[in-house]
């Protein structure tokens, strides 16, 4: 740390002493420096606005937030974005490799197209082999009619953003063992994989706030008890506990019930971190004067916690919650990969990865592990976004 030397500090000479200063104007006690419009906006801005200003400076977090917004936006219109229906099978194209989009055919520009593929069964290696037929040019169509679907399972339609040529194929990421387009399945899978973390976080958030709130507000033996419970929960390795609990879900449940069961399990195991955060914040805040004032005026504990204390650290909490979502998405992926999570026909990224369960899949059909790419992107995006959000929510940084 450097201390600037004040002018004339210490070794000041008597003859250079300044003359006594007197302001001739009379003093107006009500005078104040008028704030500029910019200053006023800053000082009067509500907390969420300050957070937004701070977040905006964090380029990486903004980028990550955009990625997340696009991905969550896509689940609204998955049917439109995916070139094929979730369940349409192409028995002629089982384990077909990804097709490359090309623009030039023999040096001539003809717009985006793919070559048709021809299929031979190699009896020697017992393997399906696909070869590109460079005479068969299949132009990709945009904003077109293709596979039929039911929008959100209700409204029938067949309008797609992109479709294969008439009678042609468009498997940008290859197909699986039933000849289903992997790209389409990834786009549909986002619906389950992205929401499972949100629902799970809502569960763990409500548990964390309630239990942590009780511990932090009452202190004493309640606090001790809650702390012990949290310690016990935290000493369980998450994944084995998730596995045990989801194995206990009745096999007869419908896929939708299983989905909610899994989210609740994810939340039930995960709430301890949030509860700790709530507790420590509350312990500090309840000593503040405004909390005492509310209490003296007869506010009930619930009102003090939720009306007076909670808003002070809500932003911080939301940021912490954002950081627990990726863990849940990875958890669901792992559970489904192990056949303990979601089951087909519900399609999540974990269910898709279940197909790539052994080394043969990786060696022969490496495109089966493509669904891991969106998993990595989402987890990274949540991590960066959550980090930025937490920094922005922290008033001391």
């Amino acid at each position: 740390m450097t201390v600037e030397r004040q002018e004339g500090d210490g070794d000041r000479q008597p003859e250079t002493r300044l003359a006594h200063y007197h302001n001739p104007q009379s003093w107006d006690p009500y005078h104040s420096e008028p704030l500029t419009a910019k200053q006023e906006a800053y000082y009067l801005a509500p907390q969420w606005k300050l957070m937004w200003w701070k977040l905006r400076r964090h380029k990486l977090a903004v980028g990550a937030g955009l990625v997340l917004a696009i991905m969550y936006g896509s689940i609204l219109i998955s049917e439109f974005l995916a070139p094929y229906n979730l369940h349409s099978r192409h028995t002629q194209y089982i384990y077909a490799p990804p097709q490359t989009v090309r623009f030039f055919h023999e040096g001539e520009f003809i717009g985006p197209f793919v070559y048709g593929t021809e299929f031979t069964l190699n009896m020697e290696r017992m393997q399906r082999e696909y070869e590109e037929n460079t005479d068969d040019i299949q132009r990709i169509r945009f904003f077109c009619l293709g596979d039929e679907y039911r929008f959100w399972g209700m409204v029938p339609g067949s309008f797609h953003f992109v479709c294969p040529a008439e009678g042609g194929t468009l498997f940008l990421l290859g197909t699986d063992r039933l000849g289903r387009d992997i790209l389409s399945r990834i786009i549909y899978g986002a619906r389950i994989s992205l929401t499972i973390g949100l629902v799970g976080v809502i569960v763990s958030f409500s548990l964390g706030i309630t239990i942590g709130g009780l511990a932090g507000y009452y202190g004493g033996w309640v606090d001790n008890l809650v702390n012990r419970i949290i310690e016990i929960f935290q000493s369980f390795p998450q994944l084995p506990l998730w596995m045990a609990l989801s194995a206990a879900l009745p096999a007869g449940w419908s896929p939708l019930l299983i989905y909610f069961g899994i989210t609740i399990i994810l939340g039930l195991v995960d709430w301890t971190g949030l509860a700790r955060a709530v507790r420590s914040k509350l312990l500090a805040l309840r000593e503040e004067d405004f909390a005492t004032a509310a209490y003296l005026m007869g506010a009930s504990p619930r009102r003090v916690i939720f009306r007076h204390l909670m808003p002070s650290f809500m932003s911080h909490l939301i940021a912490s919650a954002t950081l627990t979502i990726p863990g849940m998405i990875l958890g669901e992926t792992a559970l489904s990969f192990l056949n303990l999570g979601l089951r087909p026909p519900v399609t999540s990224w974990g269910v898709l990865l279940n197909e790539a369960q052994n080394i043969n899949a990786v060696a022969l059909y490496p495109w089966l592990i493509f669904p891991v790419v969106p998993v990595i992107i989402v987890v990274l995006a949540f991590q960066f976004f959550g980090d930025g959000l937490r920094d922005a929510a922290d008033p001391y940084k």
């Binding site: 000493s235 369980f236 994944l239 596995m243 990274l380």
Partner: protein, 332 residues
């Protein structure tokens, strides 16, 4: 110090009891018990059900009593070292678990060491070269390790080892050593295979540890004692190693508590993919076939392992840090 150890161990007892209760609930969660599943399976195969054998099992494990009684029955047996009967393997749970638990501890221990060795220099580098290209690159790689599901990393590594070296790196030892007593050759073979699961499981933990160390060290580097030390002419390297690094070292010991469950979680799924003879694959198959005594005991042992690990880390921390020893209770 003795008083601290005693206090810590007494606090542990109710924790272990609660863990046992939760494990028991897990045993009981699926509808029906293993015997009904077992009978169904035998009947579907058209085999005869030996009523007297079923009755014997039912009585030995108290399946005819109510839940609370069953719990204390199970707990009482557990205290005597009898964790119940694995119906799938037709032998006591302790016999099935024993060897695998040891290998799980081995893998977890090796992974912890790996995480320390990797994150220590990287954390220091990132903190002392904040915002440099190296810092950004290492941080990004760390994040990537955090975001990749480690079972997939295992698969990919398995594949490349197969293609590049032509060896199968699955398992934890060469096939000829399986079920053999411990020998020098077996030990070496285990060491040869150990690095894959260690790296795969370690990636996620490493990233978290690097970030923790980096943040701690950055905090320390801004403090006045460090500035003073530098201002008095202490070389950067010496000043760093002498003071701030020691302060920032606490997470290495203290984080074992949160690291262990994470490592065991990672080990569970990675060992399924790599087919390691640790607890993971067995836990999975036990859960799938509702061999609940086996599954419950696994969960209990894994949680117990964590509790003991946390205890050890707390004791180590207390030995290192007088504030904790004298103040009583861990500071988080």
């Amino acid at each position: 110090m003795l008083a601290y150890i005693a206090r810590r161990i007494i606090v542990m007892i109710p924790t272990v009891l609660a863990i046992s209760a939760i494990s028991f609930v897990i045993i009981q969660l699926p509808p029906g018990d293993y015997l009904t599943t077992y009978i169904n399976e035998l009947q579907s195969r058209g085999e005869n059900v030996d009523a007297s054998q079923i009755e014997f099992l039912r009585q030995t494990y108290g399946l005819d009593k109510n839940l609370v009684e069953q719990y204390f029955f199970w707990l009482g047996n557990a205290l005597r070292g009898d964790f119940g009967y694995s119906f799938e393997y037709s032998m006591p749970v302790t016999d099935v678990v024993g060897d695998r638990m040891f290998l799980t501890i081995l893998v977890t221990f090796a992974t912890t060491i790996f995480i320390w060795l990797v994150s220590f220099p990287i954390g220091i580098y990132s903190a002392t070269h904040q915002y440099s290209i190296g810092d950004y690159t290492l941080t990004f790689i760390g994040f990537l390790g955090l975001a990749t599901p480690n079972f997939l990393l295992a698969l990919v590594l398995l594949y490349f080892a197969n293609v590049q070296f032509g060896t199968s790196i699955g398992g934890l030892m060469d096939p000829q050593y399986i079920d053999q007593p411990m020998s020098w050759g077996k030990f070496l073979s285990v060491l040869e295979h150990l690095w894959v699961p260690v790296i795969v499981i370690g990636t996620s933990g490493t990233a978290a540890m690097i970030r923790r160390l980096r943040a701690n060290l950055l905090d320390e580097l801004q403090k006045q004692y460090y500035v003073t030390a530098r201002a008095k002419g202490l070389p950067a390297r010496r000043a760093l190693f002498k003071y701030p690094l020691r302060m920032a070292l606490n997470p290495f010991i203290a984080d074992i508590g949160s690291l262990l469950p994470q490592l065991i979680s990672g080990a569970t799924i990675v060992s399924v993919v790599l087919n390691l003879p640790t607890t993971g694959p067995l836990l999975l198959s036990a859960l799938q076939s509702q061999d609940m005594y086996l599954a419950g005991s696994f969960v209990f042992w894994l949680a117990g392992l964590t509790v003991v690990g946390v205890l050890l880390s707390d004791l180590a921390l207390a030995a290192l840090d007088p504030r904790i020893r004298l103040g009583g209770g861990a500071v988080k």
